[in-house]
Amino acid sequence: MRGGRILSALVALAASALAVSGAYASEAMATIPAGLYHPFQRVKAPTASGDPVAPPQPIASFRLDVEPVTNGEFLAFVAAHPEWRRSKVKRVFADERYLRRWSGDLELGQGDPLDAPATNVSWFAAEAYCKARGLKLPTTEQWEYALAGTAPDREAVRTRSFAWMAQPNDARPAPVGQGLANSFGVRDMVGLVWEWTYDFDAYATTAESRDPNGKDSAAFCGGAAAGVADPSDYPAFMRYAMRASLKADYTTDNLGFRCAGGA
């Protein structure tokens, strides 16, 4: 019994030594160049007199993980930060499905590879992981820009998205790094897992928060429901709808994350 406890202390120690020495801090990041971002949401709804499309927004350069954060990286993090272990996490920060496929606080599940994306992780846990690396979750704008900032990528994203959405989810996500890198050098943004963003619920549009004066078609306090730039972009609808459906403590089997930082 005692030996078992010492052994698990050793495992934790080894894992945290790994963490402290930077094993999870060395994840490869791509520098996404500054450019123009084309918002999916319109500022104003089309009217009889015109169809105002939101002007492209300048977006600053930033760094983004090339791949989603893996089980192995998240394991090292929880080893170094016991408050994020499955048995210790506070319910306000993660629901009861948090890391549910792991077989213990510091053990992955049977057949759960170290290099598969970490899933069943809440927004709070994902943000804490990024913070431990001196990073943050990417904003929705950053994430969407990195997904398809250049025209050739946009078509690839659609094709890949349709293929992915047409398939039932795998029992477990495949290891990261198998997808083709896009023109910014990032991969697996589509086709492996959905991903958290820093402001995942910022684009939620709900009828009950509609402007009470009805003076525009706003959901929220503002123009969030004025429509979208490209109604034919079904995968984009899916991404925004999926994110809007989340709550920060939610964890699910096919929702992972990656981190971003300043340039």
Binding site: R2, A9, L13, A14, P82, A204, D211
Partner: protein, 210 residues
Amino acid sequence: MIQRFAALVALLAALTLAPGVALTHEHMHHDAALDAPALLSDRSLYNLESKWTTQDGATVALDSLKGQPVVTTMGYTTCKDICPAIVADMMWVEKHLPAAMAGRVRFAFFSIDPAVDTPAKLKAYADDHGLAPQSWTFFHGDDDAVRELAAALGIGYRADGKGGFDHAAVISLLNPKGEIVFQQRGVRASSEDLLAKLVALAADDGAAVR
């Protein structure tokens, strides 16, 4: 016994090779758990560790709200659309509190616009609306504190690029432990459900004390 000894040797070796932070932390955690019962419920918002500045310039953590029912929202003071209606709803609740509850409920407004809503601005806003500091606290925090609390309260928001914000209209009722017990989404002519929940909460709390 030999096995234990070997494990201890390995442990010591590991300690000399690696920074021992994690082990120390483990022990502290363990001892704390033995010594004191959990002071905060797992679901309490007061587990958030962010620091805030009130309209009077005091630096506080969220748990400064502990021990009383709290009616809370997030918005920004230069908002022309929905925020005035949200605050009006909260004022309606305050006005309709049973006499016995007067002064026993905290109304808390957290700004999502830290750049503009300085503590001084928040104080001016409170004064302009006749919101007395005895019952109302306005909070200014940094971007991450605001985003984290908004996530915990389920309030999506984003800058609209014109100096304002798109944000959800949500009023939350917290019990004295800091758990969310009710949320009103959207504004109302009169927030009767919210008031009823608040009165029920105070009745529960009174019963528990007796």
